[in-house]
């Protein structure tokens, strides 16, 4: 907490705030609003009921109509603020409405009925979270399946990416062999080929392997990333060769050197790559769209897309699903960001 306070009140000098301080804070605030407001708007909207979403003018906070339980009526009745013909204003519960005529009762004295024009009544509203948006999507659609598919692809692909890329980087950074630099250049040069160009060849390969409509069809083509190999190789170059030689003198096999020495020491770079990989795989849309065509294999991103119907879109569910898809990436970033900074700091020192 004290760190946060110190960060938020940081100033240029030690004395009074300089005009540059005001300028910096104004700029940062603008950035904060620009970046964070849409997310905040999304999260708040995801708690609105379908009716509240369609309201105009839109409200920032989610509101719902107040209801009361009245003896003799099964369902809770909606509350209205009614202007009676005599000019008195009272909060009454609506029993029924026919045309422009509404019949209301006083919840405290339900015997007497009031008939008023619907223009003379206004709904009584309160702050209410439509949590149903979140609970219903699990029952209404196979949301659990989509979530599982996404989690499976992301976790498995990230683990395989880390392992394979680290092995490639280890060989490229710590072994001397003919053609090493050529291999490295080849790997790096694949960065210059846009993914859309290899979309069709990739599809043909995956189709030949019979991996269409299989989650592995999404995982395998994604695990070998030139960015990951490059990132890890550059980091592993900073691990002193003497450590590896010492391990060799300590009877360690090459696999053990990789697993016990190089991998733990590359942890900061691995964390960075893990974050990238999670974001890539979780947000991936085009490739899963091509490989997966059966609904039960859909990832969350595909499901979100399928959710936007041709004629109607159930926005309250769509928004709730969008929030859920945002959560894992946010969590991964929050927990691993310390490693990113230490990773950058460590590679900066040596």
């Amino acid at each position: 907490m004290r760190n946060l306070a110190a960060m938020l009140s940081a100033r240029r000098g030690r004395g009074k705030p300089d005009w540059t301080d005001w300028l910096s804070y104004a700029y940062l605030l603008l950035g904060l609003v620009l970046m964070f407001f849409p997310v905040l708007w999304l999260v708040l909207s995801s708690f609105k009921s379908a009716a509240a979403l369609n309201e105009f003018p839109p409200q920032l906070l989610p509101y719902g109509q107040k209801t009361v339980e009245v003896a003799g009526h099964e369902a809770p009745l909606p509350l209205y603020r009614v202007t009676l013909p005599d000019g008195a204003v009272r909060e009454l519960a609506e029993v029924r409405r026919i045309g422009i005529q509404a019949t209301l009762i006083d919840p405290a004295a339900p015997e007497q009925e009031y008939k008023v024009n619907i223009r003379d009544r206004k709904p009584v509203r309160e702050f209410r979270l439509a949590l149903g948006n979140y609970t219903e999507i699990f029952n209404k659609f196979s949301f659990g399946t989509f979530l599982w598919n996404s989690v499976f692809i992301t976790v498995v692909a990230t683990l395989i990416t880390l392992l394979f890329n680290a092995m490639a980087a280890f060989a490229l950074s710590k072994y001397r062999f003919a053609g090493r630099d050529t291999v490295f250049l080849l790997i790096i040069s694949t960065l210059m080929i846009p993914p859309t160009i290899i979309l069709v060849p990739n599809f043909l390969v995956v189709s030949q392997l019979g991996l269409l409509n299989s989650l592995w069809g999404v995982i395998w083509p994604a695990v070998a990333t030139p960015t990951g190999v490059f990132l890890l190789r550059q980091y592993m170059l900073t691990i002193p060769d003497e450590l590896i030689e010492a391990a060799r003198m300590d009877h360690a096999s090459e696999w053990r050197i990789f697993w016990r020495i190089v991998m733990p020491l590359s942890a900061p770079a691995l964390a960075v790559l893990a974050i990238f990989s999670v974001m890539w795989r979780w947000n991936d849309f085009l490739w899963p769209l091509i490989v997966l065509s059966r609904t039960e294999k859909f990832t969350l991103q595909l499901a979100l897309n399928a959710f936007q119907g041709e004629l109607t879109t159930e926005w309250h569910y769509l928004l709730a699903m969008t929030v859920i898809t945002l959560v894992p990436v946010t969590l991964v970033f929050a927990f691993l960001q310390k490693h990113i900074t230490t990773g950058i700091a460590a590679s900066g020192v040596k």
């Binding site: 003497e242 030689e245 010492a246 300590d250 009877h251």
Partner: protein
């Protein structure tokens, strides 16, 4: 424990030859020091023995068995690196235990061996620390401990003391010597510091440019240097070299160590010269006089105690004939029999 033999060992990197056919025999239990200026190939030679560099030509034998193609892990040697090369993500205990784990040693045995090594090197209180939390001397001891735990046949040291301050270096020097006395294991030690070489070695191997210049005990090297390079390298300050002529040969180099030159005349048969003092260094227990001879040649004189002289003064110096060395003036500068 093991004996080591090098037969015409050559190391080449592409076209460049860095080790030119080295022959060497290290006896079981011997403490051998490789010494030479930087770039002389002493570290490369050590790494070849360790198995970290391949042998281009020649044979490397441990206990009579050719090990050229045996990997570093299988040779059963242990090495202490200049940078210590401790695994930074492991505790001291894990650092010491790593080699034993790799060998598949049972847990209890690992624990016993690590505890024993830690006790011997006074590391018992530090076992749970990480290398970054240790001082230079402590790291050095962990590096040695890591070598000790698995009872290697030969210990290799690659300039292990060069990262320590002077005081600690003297202390660790005697600790390593004591360790050798206690374990009796063959040790090969690389250094560029001739004082380390002289104080620790059973035998010294002097290297220059990938060639062995001389192999011998410290005093052999001091008393009978094989050539001009060894004569200049062993001993501090450096031996003086004066051009001159001896009976039967003209054009030779006459070498004499600063500590053998006497001020004034002596009774022993000697060569007497007059020199002008350029500079004096008084250390209290000893004094160094940096002089110039009439011909412009430099002469350093080392005398015990303090002297009552000033720079610019002329002094008479005696060079005892018995303490002089004679070298030819060729590139090799081989020692000649004293004339």
């Amino acid at each position: 424990m093991a004996a080591l033999q090098l037969k015409r060992v050559v190391k080449r990197y592409g076209e460049t030859t860095v080790i030119h056919g080295v022959d060497l025999e290290v006896r079981d239990g011997e403490f051998v020091v490789f010494v030479g200026p930087s770039g002389c190939g002493k570290s490369t030679l050590l790494r070849m023995i360790a198995g970290l560099e391949s042998v281009t030509e020649g044979d490397l034998l441990i206990d009579g068995k050719r090990v050229n193609d045996v990997s570093a892990a299988q040779r059963g040697l242990a090495m202490v690196f200049q940078s210590y090369a401790l695994y930074p993500h492991m505790t001291v205990y894990q650092n010491l235990a790593f080699a034993l784990e790799n060998l598949g040693t049972p847990r209890a045995e690992i624990d016993a061996k690590v505890q024993a090594a830690a006790k011997m090197l006074r590391l018992d209180a530090l076992l749970e620390r990480r290398p970054t939390q240790l001082s230079g001397g402590q790291r050095q001891r962990v590096a040695i401990g890591r070598a000790i735990v698995r009872n290697p046949t030969i210990f290799l040291f690659d300039e292990p003391l060069s990262n320590l301050d002077a005081e600690l270096r003297v202390q660790m020097r005697s600790e390593i010597t004591a360790l050798h006395d206690r374990l009796g294991t063959t040790m090969i030690y690389v250094t560029h510091d001739q004082v380390e070489a002289m104080t620790m070695a059973d035998r010294i191997v002097v290297l220059r440019g990938g060639r062995v210049e001389q192999i011998g005990t410290p005093l052999e090297l001091y008393n009978r240097p094989a050539n001009r390079f060894v004569a200049g390298f062993i001993g501090s300050p450096q031996m003086n070299f004066l051009s001159g002529a001896v009976a039967g040969r003209e054009d030779v180099l006459l070498g004499i160590r600063p500590e053998h030159i006497a001020l004034g005349a002596t009774s022993a048969p000697s060569l007497t010269l007059t020199a002008t003092i350029d500079r004096i260094e008084q250390l209290g227990a000893a004094s160094f006089l940096y002089c110039a001879l009439a011909g412009g040649e430099k002469l350093t004189v080392h005398t015990a105690g303090q002297v009552d002289l000033a720079s610019g003064e002329q002094v008479e110096v005696s060079l005892p004939v018995g303490a002089t060395h004679v070298f030819d003036t060729s590139e090799a500068g081989s020692a000649l029999p004293r004339g």
